[in-house]
Symmetry: C2
Subunit: 356 residues, 2 copies
């Protein structure tokens, strides 16, 4: 049975990316060695990491003012690297969910943190819009997409201080004006490729302004100075990212995928709003994520949640269970998710409705 | 032409490990999803990470007093994590090469560092043995195998304070009494599997003794408490590690591979000592690494180095060039290196000798 992969991350990878990556695991470009066993200093691997960074640059139109590097430990390690490198006195954070909260927790180890607004009062079901970013903050940190709660900030916020965005679950899903950000970072495992690396796009001039000594591996300048090769990166993950980025480029790039993403999210939210069994967890349409669609059963059908999950599983739907902080369901429909799978989910929802 | 992979890391992976890993990249155990796209919280991936840790435990006979975890960023990130977690006042380090020096550099950011001995005076061509470990140090740090310089500490050192070993390039190559170590850590990319994870074996009671706040992702307790799943690990790398550890177990485990390693290193050093063109860079036999065999041309044939490298390349030898800090040649003959490839290198050395 065909599986429809709605996992929140690690998440769906296109078939052709799997095929090329598996080939490289056996023999990289016919050199007689696996991508797992070539030195990270070899010309073969240098070509991989350089092209991966160049593709990020090209696909996101990264200006010359910004560096593109690959760090370790996913977005979570960046939660402490950001304040380590940039919080001298005070940082401002917007709290829109679990990931923002985790980032805030790490920042507090390094200095004063001003949370400019939080949607915790309503279990993070909306994006706060009424807030002031303090002009004396070293930076302003946001989480653009909230994987768990299903909200997304889809505009480039105006900020008087460097804007730093954790874009782990919506990077490359829609056009972004990188020049307006001090930094954008993202764990790879949604739209960039397999888990194991994080992408960081950093405006060079925001670094070097804190007094504290920074351990080498936590200092963004190390990654910039050594082109992400100070130490051995997760080579296979990077190769997977390269293949995924090539796939995206062949498909027409970020503008093209954004259209597809809007269409996929559009038909799914439409069904959620129409179907008598389901309702969105995000009341305001403009706050709804186009990557992670969270929904629950209406009060009337609440006791049918487990039955729907079982029914969906029987139709090949994987990873549809919502995060425990929200309950219900979550369909993660990242770049690689074909509209056919979204239609299959919608069909399943309609079928299940008809049984009741 | 068959390639003989002597890279220092990432390094040779057995063919059957490549094949199983490539299969999992296409479809993990027939579940219809790639190992790149299953959630790290799925039962499929939980099984992978649990079995990988259990195999480390079994192969190294790790006692119940120690935890086995997988960290990010290779050994290099552990260079700062070790002092972050354990250096309260003073730490003792043995300086046996570039990796020791890098570890020392990071430790100095956190407190006093006493370097008990260094072989830098002779370009790290020997292992210092005449030193005293201060009893008031929080720990004593060693690098068991010096990948660049070709030396190795093959005995378990007596230490009055917790002994912490960076065993990146000789973990699993020989029996070690883990109970005598406070911690053993290693980047995966030599004997454990593909790059992207580091193994850390930590005696639980050496943690929690420093005053400083530790960022969550740098705190070893996070990895222990969450069974290495606080955040998304490098899933594909871990799957490669699992396959590599299974291969090692099937082969008879660490005792069995140690015999093979001694034999491989034995015949190669014998040829280096015999062949009029070459000499070992490590005078004292007991200091010679059985993982990284470094050698140069004798003064008489010095100008033939480039010619030998070219000749070796023409015979399918890859990665034989020595590190720039040593020059000459380096044959990295990790666990996965078959004796046939070592014999092929020896044959190449003999053939080249015959041309002169």
């Amino acid at each position: 049975m065909k599986k429809h992969n709605f996992y929140a991350g690690p998440s769906i990878i296109p078939d052709e990316v799997k095929e090329v990556t598996a080939k490289g695991i056996l023999d990289l470009n016919g050199i007689g060695l696996s991508v797992m066993e070539v030195s990270h200093r070899s010309k073969e691997f240098s070509a991989i990491i350089e092209e991966t960074a160049l593709l990020i640059r090209e696909l996101m139109a990264v200006p010359a003012s910004h560096s593109v590097v690959f760090t370790h430990g996913g977005a979570s390690l960046n939660f402490c690297m950001v304040p380590y490198n940039m919080l001298q006195k005070k940082a401002a954070y917007l709290d829109t969910g679990s990931w923002s909260s985790k980032a805030i927790k790490e920042a507090r180890l390094f200095g004063e943190v001003e949370v400019v607004a939080s949607s915790k009062d309503k279990n993070y079901t909306y994006i706060p819009r009424d807030f002031t970013i303090p002009a004396d903050a070293d930076y302003f940190h946001i989480t653009t997409n909230n994987t768990i709660f299903g909200t997304e900030i889809r505009e480039d916020i105006d900020s008087p201080v460097p804007l730093i965005a954790d874009a782990s679950s919506d990077i490359l899903s829609r056009p972004v004006d990188v020049s307006r950000y001090g930094m954008i970072y993202a764990g790879a495992q949604k739209n960039v490729g397999p888990a194991g690396v994080a992408v960081a796009i950093i405006k060079n001039d925001i670094l070097g302004k804190v007094d504290r000594p920074i351990p080498t591996m936590l200092d963004y300048r190390t990654y910039i100075d050594k082109a992400s090769l100070f130490n051995t990166p997760a080579c296979v993950s990077l190769y997977g990212c390269l293949n995924m980025l090539k796939w995206l480029k062949n498909l027409g790039g970020v503008e093209a995928i954004y259209k597809k993403n809007l269409e996929k999210a559009g038909i799914l939210y439409e069904e959620i709003d129409r179907n008598k069994l389901f309702k969105s967890t995000i009341p305001d349409e403009k706050d709804r994520s186009i990557m992670n669609v969270t929904f629950v059963m209406t009060d009337e059908y609440k006791e049918k949640e487990a039955a729907f999950l079982e029914y969906a599983a029987s139709k090949g739907m994987v990873g549809v269970k919502g995060h425990r902080s929200v309950g219900g369901f979550r369909a993660s429909i990242y770049n690689a998710m074909p509209i056919e799978s979204v239609k299959a989910l919608i069909h399943t929802m309609k079928e299940f409705e008809a049984t009741l």
